[in-house]
Symmetry: D2
Subunit: 403 residues, 4 copies
């Protein structure tokens, strides 16, 4: 009996689920792990799943995958494209897509779980962990809050990977700060509603919100040193119900990335300062409100553990297939699993893009301009060799740490 | 038997219905008219209702009221405030409110219908018309397309009124161009979606749409002469599903008001020019799309008919209670009922605001700064003397034209 | 002996002088008036000139022309184009051009002075007044402050004209409010200077000033009713000395037009509010400063005197050549000469544009789109019939008021 | 006889000269070098000066300082502050200040020239070079074009330093890319001028330029990866001559910093794209013009030569006083002197700020927030120990390379 990873991948891709709603995915995972002989726990942090194999003395290694999809309408044209929908936190029905590749993560970890279960050469404890709700944050925290490390052995090292628009066949591991810290916040800006034909009787919150979204660009362009990295994205802007009504308020949804606490504080303070000032410029009836939502810490790979793992990967794949990519502006909550265990983290990127898209630019570290990135409606990792390499990377890394 | 107008008004206010969904309202209207002896036709233009009384030779006078509410969440605090919801054209459930006072219009016209039915002093034909879907436009057109003037006599004059934030007790009639022409359009701006942390791999449509909303302000401020009037309102801006996803597109919903076809063409051309240029500034993958929705013509009161009607109103109310307010930037589709009949239109405003809110400024033609205007969630006409004056104005005007 | 008005016009056009520097122009005027037999006073309000003829009993009529040019580099391509320069109030040498047509005004008034001196049919007192510094304001005030009405007889009516982009051959007289009130102000916005490569160590006043100039557009587009007229122009924006230095401050020069004191106050308050808020958005080290410079009142033509004068002009030119143009957004200080004398003002526009440029649009009140307006570097009135009609209009109007 | 460096520094600071106008400075330098026994050449590249000492066999070492000041009005309050003025490339008289510390560079190099002339322990050839016009670029190129390396021996290494807002007493040397490449360009945006009261007859270039300056912020904030560094500064914006005239054009002066040719090309293309699109948004009568002015290449320190020099500096000052600062966004043309000689470059920063301003933040690599940076009107290096350390650093580095 052997898992058909390609089929699993296509099935998961076709059936994405939003954060904390990964019931179908969790069920597939749990059933597969039981079939492979793992001791399975379900429902940790609502929809999280773990599988454990204990083989006497030796280190405890945790391999982590995340399971949730995103509210994106798939536009890949794949024959296994998603047409699924889900209900977002506001209660709206939205299209759902594995636009971030968590289906790759789940599939590879199932493949690694199978390979490691079948591999008699190691000793110690293996924990495979399938986490909910990485996208909306809170999934790792939810598993910890739900007693994760009382329910599975506390790991000596936390390992994981994320598929990325690098050429399939490669892995990339950055020691030290590897992924940005992220803050998500929603700004509610208040105006005074009225008739669209009589703006002079209103305070127009659409104009106010648009001005704010424009003025926020100056934070990164004017207030952060060229050598410091920061991203301020307004991912959502919603205002109004009808063209001829000036609504009473507007909402901006922001995602902020930084690599340094000083820069983070500077950016968040600037966001609030600008939003307040724009409200004053519009003579808004009251100050904007700032709701801070999920926060991801900077993802920091332990330098010693990264060196050890990277060496094992280079041995397995050849040095030319193991890159050091620099820090990236994406964010992750995998780090909280390591921090809570006081264990080193090693988290790498798994190439998932068609190598043919990369020309000479790759040698210079340039990505192709037209490569759909994670979260794009056209994000479509190449199933192979991505899945095979992803399984091998997890197995290699895990065995490096198991006795 | 007599209609209790205050009770009818409160009931209608509590139960507003969106455009073309005025089933309950139409039912109440039809039942009342039948009780008053009118020949009633229902379902003209989906939910429109007419009542006719013919009394031999004489002119045909059409009195018109509109029936629909708006997708606004009422915030008046009135004990008869609406908590109703409806389904908007996109299929979303939205709160509904009589934020434009059509409940006043319906109530007054029922009152006038009662008074005129009971009044033996006139001769000719009276048509009372309750129109659907003024807010989303199309209601008057729909009744015409549904054979209105084959189903009721073609009028010799079209009369109607709109409640406005003038002091209750007054009416205001502007000869000539009295209300603006209106165009509603939706602009879809295309970007390239992706991860919120990697804007450089995307074309951010939120920033594009915000920049466009800001740049559109320059049309009225820079491109239209001070002596020409125009309004360009972005009443809706919607983009994005999640803070950390840069979405693939954004939508702006615009309402445009003008009083002159040359100005209108200049404004609409400038909107398209600016949206296209902003897309180019963002290196958008394709041009924005412009969907033109309802269009209201300029509402023009026939000068001779207005003079005759105003004289009658002055006689009834006293000259000091009949204002000439200047053209206003609101819009109406009542004019198409007159144009289709080749009949003069006389359409006036009915004061609905607490006179105590107006100080010395009224003499100078100034409205109080804090008066909630039509379409505001706080729009709350004073029921009395508004209803009584509104009934009297309709009766006075109708009798001026009937023999 | 007769004045060669075409030659005088070309000479004046070729030699424009800035406000309060009209020495050459004033000299030409004074010499010509003396030659015509006027009692001449020079140097009233620095460079103002008056000429008086008294012929016994009868009304006193004041005809006014303004003399100054503008700091504009002429781009008309005329063979009599200006290449003159002058020194502006900041001490900078700037090109100078009669871009507002004051050379037409001076020439026409000299022609009228000649005709009226030669015309034995009238009785009373004629004052011809050549005013300095209309453009920078203050010229009329300066003449009054310098004892104008102790040095020449106080007029019973003040008459004058302004060349405008209407077809040559026409005049246009608007009773009541005819030209806008104007306010000129300079906003100094403070940043913190530094190296262009390190904006994060600065507060960039160029970005601050640009954001403010953009945000100010929202005043006219969002805060003023469609039926009210206002113009907010940023005519100057100056910041910086070198591309790689972020300067410590930026200056915006604004010109504001309104027709109503309430609107004026609302606009000026909004300008200050927005500038302060934008400074706050940039975390500016201190608040902006607002320096209010010249102010022109609304130019109001006395209704009775306008009716009388218009009737005379219609008799002289034919009714079809005397328009009622509506109020215009340009401004004038001629009104203070009338107000100080407690005399009615009648101030009309003189067509100066090639009638061939106007097609059918004129009948609809439309100007040609490509007509260079006053203050444009391409403003070039057609000398004839403009000068002849301008002389005739002044003579006709003056004789209407003289016995 | 000994040079009084503090007096020289104060004198140079009080008498700054603009690029290619460094006649007084060059005269002081030449006279001092002659007094020290150097073979002096003046007027290389207009105002450049070299001094040479040849002592038989051995390497040739070039020490470089730049001499020019900036068009900044000094606001340090120092008793030796500048009140000098100069004439800028546009012919305008402007205040001048040593706001970039080139007076420190000249003084230190004179001190090093004196010490090395008096030091008998070395052999080889020493070239001290005082370059004009670093600020406006072109100074190093001008010296090369004027036959520099035919007039002085071609160096085996080029050494130099720049004072920086680091604590006085420290030096900082970054191997590899150390300073950004810089491009300076001027964008001329065309509108259509006219009267400030009639914007509808114009295309307002002030609004156009302001919109462009705002929209350019999106390049760094949206189009450049967080891990790539770029700066786009609008250091100048000039438009208009009078508040009530809408001018025909506006000029933006930009300074761009990048560390990578791909990023540079992306930024420059985006600037042109945005400016063209904004012109289209305004319906500008023609496309903007882009004038590219000075360009500085990325300043790249030779890694081997940097390691050798840094080791010598650590020996001289102690390792804790020799930092590795990371690349900075400032730019330099010193690199072209090395490139033309095919010699390695070693260029370091010299701390010039009061160490008391730095608290615990220095250990974290944080600069004090309130430290005036280079090009600020308040830039005021502490003369001591800056000058003494600057002389010692040059002497130490030179002797490391001389035999």
């Amino acid at each position: 009996m052997s898992l058909d990873l390609d089929a699993i991948y296509r099935d998961l891709h076709r059936h994405p689920e939003l954060s904390f709603q990964e019931h179908r995915t969790a069920g597939i995972v749990a059933e597969a792990l039981r079939g492979l002989g793992y001791t399975v726990t379900e429902g940790i942090g609502r929809t999280g799943v773990t599988g454990v194999i204990e083989r006497g003395e030796g280190p405890t290694v945790l391999l982590r995958a995340d399971m949730d999809g995103l509210p994106v309408r798939e536009a890949t044209g794949l024959d296994y494209a998603s047409t699924a929908t889900g209900v977002d936190p506001d209660g709206a029905e939205v299209p759902v897509m594995h636009a971030c590749g968590h289906d790759v993560h789940v599939t590879c970890l199932l493949g690694a779980a199978e390979a490691l279960a079948a591999d008699a050469s190691w000793q110690g404890t293996l924990v495979v962990l399938f986490q909910p709700a990485e996208e909306w944050g809170g999934g790792a925290e939810a598993m910890l809050a739900d007693g994760l490390y009382e329910r599975v052995p506390r790991p000596d090292v936390v390992l994981g990977q994320h598929v990325a628009p690098l050429p399939a066949g490669l892995v990339a591991l950055q020691p030290g700060p590897a992924m940005a810290g992220a803050d998500s916040l929603t700004i509610t800006m208040h105006g005074t509603g009225g008739h669209g034909s009589r703006p002079e009787t209103t305070v127009d919150p659409v104009y106010l919100a648009a001005s704010t979204a424009v003025r926020l660009q100056g934070i990164v362009s004017r207030e952060i040193a060229a050598g410091d990295a920061a991203v301020v994205t307004v991912g959502q802007l919603h205002a109004g119900t009808k063209n001829n009504i000036i609504p009473p308020e507007a909402k901006l949804g922001l995602s902020v990335r930084t690599f340094d606490e000083h820069v983070r504080e500077r950016v968040l303070a600037a966001i609030e300062r600008i939003a307040r000032a724009e409200a004053a410029a519009s003579a808004a009836p009251r100050e904007p409100e700032f709701a801070y939502e999920e926060r991801f810490p900077v993802t920091v790979n332990d330098r010693a553990a990264s060196a050890r793992t990277a060496a094992a990967l280079r041995t397995a794949f050849g040095a030319e297939r193991v890159l050091e990519p620099g820090a990236v502006s994406g964010s992750e909550d995998v780090g909280v699993l390591a921090t809570a265990a006081d264990a080193p983290l090693v988290y790498w990127f798994l190439g998932g893009a068609d190598p043919a898209l990369f020309g000479a630019g790759l040698a210079e570290g340039r990505l192709p301009e037209h490569l759909p990135s994670n979260h794009s409606p056209e994000f479509a990792p190449l199933p192979q060799p991505t899945l095979t390499v992803g399984v091998a990377a997890l197995v290699t890394a895990a065995k490096e740490w198991l006795d």
